[in-house]
């Protein structure tokens, strides 16, 4: 309950990550403070001194390793003589920029091997420090990015918020990009020099260097005590003497705090003295054979200058080659762009000879000519329809071309044009449909009755014509072997119509007729297969077969010829009329000498 009953004043949000960072920072700070305290011989317990001694040895070893790596890299470039100058440069930079030498060395080494130029590497390292201060990105990453950028891989430079696009990063030269980054980072390094963080870094570096210096002395001294020259021997000795030192009082501990300083001074003494002293302490001979000095050829000032000039010259040559390569690449890209442009132009040229387009243009021209010759609205409408269709076709072709060219603006324009043409065509089509509709409606209004006034008038006219013909033509006589006559349909009609009163209409008369009679008057369509002869039928010529009295009994007696003069008419009707005459004759008993069956 008590946990809630409090008022927090000026709380600080540390969060999970910040808490961890704060802890790490505190640990580092504590470590550095302890190191510093150890270095100046402040009151620290024995264990702290021993631990500090071990850490110092380790720090020295790491520092030495990094220095050796850099030294080897410089020698490989052929300027080994410049090692002292480089070490001096690193030391000065460490103090001025407050960046530990164990960070500066690998960074400088990377740049030196990449550029192959001492001056270029120094310049880039200074730039990298500025950029690192401005961006917050650690120096190792910045130098790596700059090194890559120097050889043309500018992708890593994107993270420094240059404001350049990827294409620009690829096309611009490294120096241009670096210029942009430096312009944006200007003043960051100077600002940092005025901050508390800088002060703390200076303190940290000072304690770190103190550790390395002391560590170096300890390694030399204690390794000799341990019987070797390596750091491992020194560490072994430190552990062994830790037990003895642990028994020393606090006052003694303070004294021990001065040991590192003493050891550092001892380092400057001849080794044999120390070795002899240590050997006497542990009762064994730890004399180490004198290390032979390496015979190094010293270069004259002139030679050194020559070598440096050669290095710079080589570096410049490589840079020139790289630039030439890049220019070549750019030229190739440019040529590709020109080719692409030419291809586009070619495609445009091809469109001039496009057969579809030519035909289309010709058709449109033809339509225009037709329009000039049109004499009525229907023709104009038809021409307009055709023109609209041709326009639609042309718009479709244009759209296809635009799609093929992937030209967005052209596609949109062609689509709009096509839609507009389709609209025009639709409007014209609608007009056409309407005209057709009206026509069909009018046609439906036309009477389709079988008998109408016109037909009847025509029928009457025909009848009159027939009557006129009948008046001129003799009544057909049927020459029969028997007496009596027979009326044909036409005759019958003539006889009837003569008796008709004036009140009887033609319709009444027509309806009173039989179907056959109506057919004869043209009221019905004649039989499809019927063939109406245009000339008089041939005179019947009886065959000679079966003649005489010994036949089947149904043959015409020999020597009798029947001629029927029917005039022009329906053969069927004529046949029926003849048949009727014969039946009547049988009924009357006038037809003898054979049977006649209907």
């Amino acid at each position: 309950m008590a946990a809630d009953v409090r008022i927090d004043i000026a709380a600080q949000f540390v969060g999970k990550k910040a808490f961890k960072e704060a802890d790490t920072a505190t640990e580092k700070l504590t470590k550095n403070v302890k190191k510093l305290a150890g270095a100046v011989g402040l009151a620290y317990g024995t264990s702290a001194v021993i631990a500090y001694g071990k850490a110092s040895v380790k720090a020295f070893a790491e520092d030495e390793k990094a220095a050796l790596r850099l030294s080897r890299a410089v020698e490989n470039l052929g300027i080994g003589f410049a090692n002292p100058a480089i070490a001096d440069y690193i030391a000065k930079l460490e103090k001025s920029a407050a960046i530990a030498d164990d960070i500066l060395r690998p960074a400088f080494q990377g740049l030196l091997t990449t550029t192959g130029s001492l001056t270029q590497a120094q310049k880039l390292l200074n730039d990298a420090i500025t950029i690192s201060r401005a961006s917050g990105v650690d120096l190792a990453t910045v130098t790596e990015d700059l090194g890559k950028g120097y050889v043309g891989i500018t992708r890593g430079l994107q993270k420094y918020n240059t404001g350049l696009t990827r294409a620009e990063l690829q096309s611009k030269s490294f120096n241009e990009i670096l210029g942009v980054i430096l312009k944006r980072s200007a003043g960051a390094a100077e600002d940092y020099l005025g901050s508390t963080a800088y002060s703390m870094d200076v303190l940290g570096i000072a304690t770190g260097n103190a550790s390395e210096i002391i560590g170096g002395g300890l390694v030399d001294a204690l390794a000799l005590v341990g019987g070797g020259t390596e750091a491992t021997d020194a560490a072994y000795v430190i552990e062994n003497i830790a037990t003895a030192l642990a028994k020393v009082t606090v006052q003694a501990g303070r004294t021990v705090g001065v040991i590192p300083t003493l050891i550092k001074n001892l380092k400057n003494l001849p080794r044999n003295i120390f070795a002899g002293f240590a050997g006497a302490q542990i009762g064994r001979n730890v004399l180490i054979p004198e290390k032979k000095e390496e015979v190094k050829l010293t270069l004259t000032q002139k030679k050194q200058q020559e070598l440096m000039a050669k290095l710079e010259k080589d570096s410049l040559r490589r840079e020139r080659e790289r630039l030439a390569l890049k220019n070549k690449q750019l030229a190739t890209d440019k040529a590709k762009a020109i080719i692409a442009k030419g291809e586009n132009a070619l495609l445009k040229g091809e469109s001039v000879f496009d057969m579809d387009k030519i035909q289309l243009a010709a058709a449109l021209t033809s339509q225009a000519e037709q329009l000039g010759k049109a004499t009525n609205a229907s023709q104009v409408l038809q021409i307009a329809n055709d023109t609209a269709r041709l326009n639609v076709k042309r718009s479709m072709l244009a759209l296809e071309d635009a799609i093929a060219a992937k030209d967005e603006a052209a596609i949109i324009a062609a689509t709009n044009k096509l839609n507009a043409d389709l609209k025009v065509l639709g409007a014209l089509g609608m007009q056409n449909v309407k005209l057709q509709d009206i026509k069909s409606i009018l046609e439906t209004l036309t009477p389709k009755d079988l008998i109408n006034q016109a037909n009847l008038d025509a029928a009457l006219a025909k009848i009159k014509e027939m009557l006129a013909l009948l008046a001129q033509v003799k009544t057909p006589t049927v020459t029969t072997p028997t007496s009596g006559g027979a009326y044909s349909t036409v005759a019958k009609v003539a006889a009837i119509t003569a008796k008709l009163p004036a009140s009887v209409t033609a319709t009444d008369f027509f309806e009173s007729l039989t179907e056959d009679e109506q057919a004869q008057l043209g009221g019905y369509q004649p039989f499809v297969g019927a063939k109406i002869p245009t000339t008089s039928p041939e005179i019947f010529t009886p065959s000679g077969a079966g003649l005489g009295n010994n036949g089947s009994g149904r043959q015409v007696p020999q020597g009798v010829t029947i001629n029927v003069n029917t005039g022009v008419g329906d053969p069927n009707a004529i046949a029926e009329a003849i048949d009727q005459v014969l039946i009547d004759a049988v009924n009357r008993g006038t037809l003898r000498g054979g049977a006649y069956l209907a």
Binding site: V5, I7, A11, V14, K28, T30, K31, V33, A197, L203
Partner: protein, 220 residues
């Protein structure tokens, strides 16, 4: 090795490491700001128990919560050392506390339920081996009162309200949104803090700022 000082917590560590005198000075400065609030808060603690029975020695549930004016006053104090990180990830650099049990009860009683907790209902004990098996007992949660007096909570809170009302010390910052915390209400330290009207808070922050500037001046 490079070390970066960030925020007040780190600044305090740096102060202690490099300028111990400045660190002590800063703490003294902060203490000087907080002390008047503490004194005032102690003045809000009644000299007698708000309820007469509360001061009687008891061995039951309230055995360690017996009212003692002196304990309650002593329990009110301040701290200028950074606290542990709370669940929200905050560390307070300075704080006023009411640490005694009776004092904190007096501080907060009625903060959540101004009318007292509702009474827990009666229910039959159904566990066969329970000594009260078959009997009706009052059973409820922490949010319910176990007293047979339905007005017990209200009477308790009313008695304390007669000596000092609950005051809300929450100050909405400019542009701050969201629900106001009810944990800024109380009768002693919160009341004193509210009456201070944020002056102490500003003074503490200023003291930290001053120490930062002084530290930078000395280190350079």
């Amino acid at each position: 090795m490079p070390t970066e000082v960030k925020g007040a917590v780190e600044l305090r560590k740096a102060l202690k490491a490099f300028t111990p005198d400045l660190a002590k000075e800063t703490q003294k400065e902060i203490a000087a700001v907080l002390k008047p609030i503490v004194t005032k808060a102690r003045g809000f603690i009644p000299s007698t128990a708000p309820l007469s029975g509360w001061a009687q020695s008891n061995n039951g549930t309230w055995g360690n919560r017996v009212w003692s004016s002196s304990d309650a006053k002593r329990g009110i104090g301040y701290k200028t050392t950074p606290s542990k990180v709370n669940r929200s990830g905050f560390r307070s650099l300075a704080r006023i506390v009411n640490a005694s049990p009776s004092g904190s009860i007096y501080e907060t009683a009625g903060r959540l339920n101004p009318q007292g907790r509702p009474q827990a209902p009666m229910s039959e004990v159904v566990a066969p081996r329970h000594p009260n098996f078959g009997k009706m007992t009052r059973s409820g949660s922490k949010d319910q009162s176990m007293s047979n007096n339905p007005n017990a909570g209200k009477q308790f809170i009313d008695a304390m309200n007669r000596t000092s009302p609950i005051v809300n010390a929450f100050q909405r910052a400019e542009g701050q949104s969201g629900r106001a915390s009810r944990k800024m209400k109380g009768r002693a330290i919160f009341r004193a803090y509210a009456e201070d009207q944020g002056k102490a808070n500003a003074a503490v922050i200023k003291a930290i700022e001053n120490s930062k500037l002084e530290f930078e001046r000395r280190v350079k």
